[in-house]
Amino acid sequence: MNSPMLKIENLVMRFGGVVACNDFTAEIKEGQIVGLIGPNGAGKTTIFNVVTGVYKPTAGQILFSPNGIEQHQLTGLSPDKIAKLGVCRTFQNIRLFGELTVLENVFIGNHLRVKSDVFSTVLRLPHYVAEEKRLYEKSLYLLEKIGLQDTKDEKASSLPYGMQRRLEIARALATDPRLLLLDEPAAGMNPQETRELIEFIREIKDEFDLTIFLIEHHMEVIMEISEKIYVLDHGVLIAQGNPSEIQRNEKVVEAYLGVG
């Protein structure tokens, strides 16, 4: 393959006096699972926010290549355009459509791929009805995958925490992403749920042909599924490498023990 799926070059993100991310460079190849770790406040979520267009970076560029050939500059694009190109995410502090049902949450993930215009949806023209039926089937399939098919008519906010996290992943999958960004998907999960999540991430990666960028605090998750790990501390990249290299890295151990 030629160009990597995601290329972050010399990214700087400043909030007033706070430098949340300073000169960060990273590369994710198609089909990889890449981890991003670091202590609280290191700037991990900020990087996701910049990649998905929530913030415009102070400096640097982000290149996305959904198929290895064409390259899109993501900096300056709005979040919805970035999602349409094939980058979707979950949120560290869950952001479901709380008052809507579980099924509606996933169904809404399909909206960006809908071809019919609004009047054909109101008139329920045959081509829209067919499209809608297909999207509902797809949504139900995704719910089945995360094991939530029985709660499809419940309010999303009424689900337990772990299920809400999985529902966020299903909603993101409904957008047909090429690159999936997961922000602490195992947060608040018990060891059993965490194990299932690891399996689940591997499964969806294969089935939907995904590339995954993952922030996680559970070390066992990161070490087990990432091919490559970037370590961030105070907005600065302090190490990168495969899991065993990272585990042996002194700077990483120091950052995690809170020395200095």
Partner: protein, 339 residues
């Protein structure tokens, strides 16, 4: 199977509505028929505002303004040519409108389209900003349109208003439009665009991350809402026969807001019921504004008293809602057509 049952229920409700209107026209006195007309118009108004404020989560206070636009559009377009000459005695009407005399349906559609177009022109610049700006801009628009209509003598006949607008509005028109509005908004909310509106209401950040263009969807929802507000304004003109700029004050918007809040934000069934109850209630409470003779004591009428009473009812209803007393059991709400 369930789909089929739903269709039968819909057809049954439709048949009962038609039968009810037929009987009402036949046996009720004109005053009661007028209340039925107003109810139908307020159903349309309530739903159109609920689409904007309840379902898409924007905060618009411009309904009275968009109704004014619709009412004047219908008034000017449907009024007979000789009637126009009589109305515009201070200053003749602009030449290009002097000789038009449209039927009611095309005039209503024009009312909706002009209102929607104005909605987009006013909404587009501010919908990129946060929702507070929409409230301010629409409130300002509703007030400004009154001033404008008061001063455009050769277009709207200024403060004199329009008299002798043909009384096209009957229960078939008012409730026919209400049914079309119910159908349109139910089906809109059932489809993927309507769901996207709900997503925008629930969480704008998440909606954008799921590829929903906030601006496009907000403008779309706002334009639909303004369209129906304009049509309802046109129906009002055809019902009253006389309109002037001062009819379209902010209190009119608050009446509709009252319906939306009582009916429930985002709820279609609730809004329909609330529209009927509030309209009928406002008429029933009209005696509060007039002087009362209680035999031993004479109470002078206090204009606006019924608004006070209604406001109190609103506050109580909101408090009861908060406490969950008026909340219906979960999952049994008639909201929008669900799959």
């Amino acid at each position: 199977m369930r789909e089929k049952n739903k269709r039968h229920v819909t057809l049954l409700i439709l048949a009962l509505t038609i039968l009810g209107l037929f009987l009402a026209n036949r046996f009720l006195d004109p005053y009661k028929v007028r209340v039925i007309n107003l109810s139908g118009i307020y159903v349309t108004l309530g739903l159109s505002m609920n689409l904007i404020n309840g379902m898409t989560g924007m905060f618009s206070l411009g309904h009275a303004g968009f109704m004014a636009v619709g009412a004047y559009t219908v008034g000017i377009l449907t009024m007979p040519i000789t009637m126009k000459e009589m109305n515009f005695f201070m200053q003749p009407i602009v030449p290009f409108l002097a000789n038009v005399e449209w039927g009611f349906l095309p005039a209503l559609i024009a009312a909706g389209l002009i209102s929607a177009l104005l909605g987009v022109l006013i909404g587009a610049p501010v919908l990129r900003l946060t929702d507070d700006y929409l409230a301010i801009a629409t409130l300002g628009f509703a007030e400004i349109i009154r001033v404008v209509f008061t001063n455009t003598q050769s277009l709207t006949n200024g403060a004199l208003g329009l008299k002798g607008i043909p009384n096209y509005t009957n229960t078939w028109w008012s409730w026919g439009v209400a049914l079309v509005t119910i159908w349109f908004i139910s089906y809109l909310m059932r489809g993927t665009y309507g769901k996207a509106f709900l997503a925008v209401r629930e969480d704008e950040v998440a909606a954008r991350a799921m590829g929903i263009n906030l601006f496009k969807h907000k403008v779309m929802s706002f334009a639909f809402g303004c369209f129906f507000a304009g049509v309802a304004g046109g129906l009002m003109a055809g019902l009253l026969g006389t309109i002037d700029p001062n009819m379209f004050r902010i209190t009119l918007t608050f009446n509709i807001l009252l319906i939306v809040v009582l009916g429930g934000l985002g709820k279609i069934g609730g809004t329909i019921i609330a529209a009927v109850i509030v309209t009928a209630g406002m008429e029933t409470l009209r005696f509060l504004d007039e002087s009362m003779d209680l035999g031993f004591v004479q109470i002078k009428g206090i204009p606006g008293m019924r608004m006070v009473v209604f406001s109190i009812i609103l506050i109580v209803a909101v408090i009861l809602r908060e406490k969950g007393l008026l909340r219906r059991p979960k999952g049994r709400e008639f909201t929008y057509v669900k799959n």
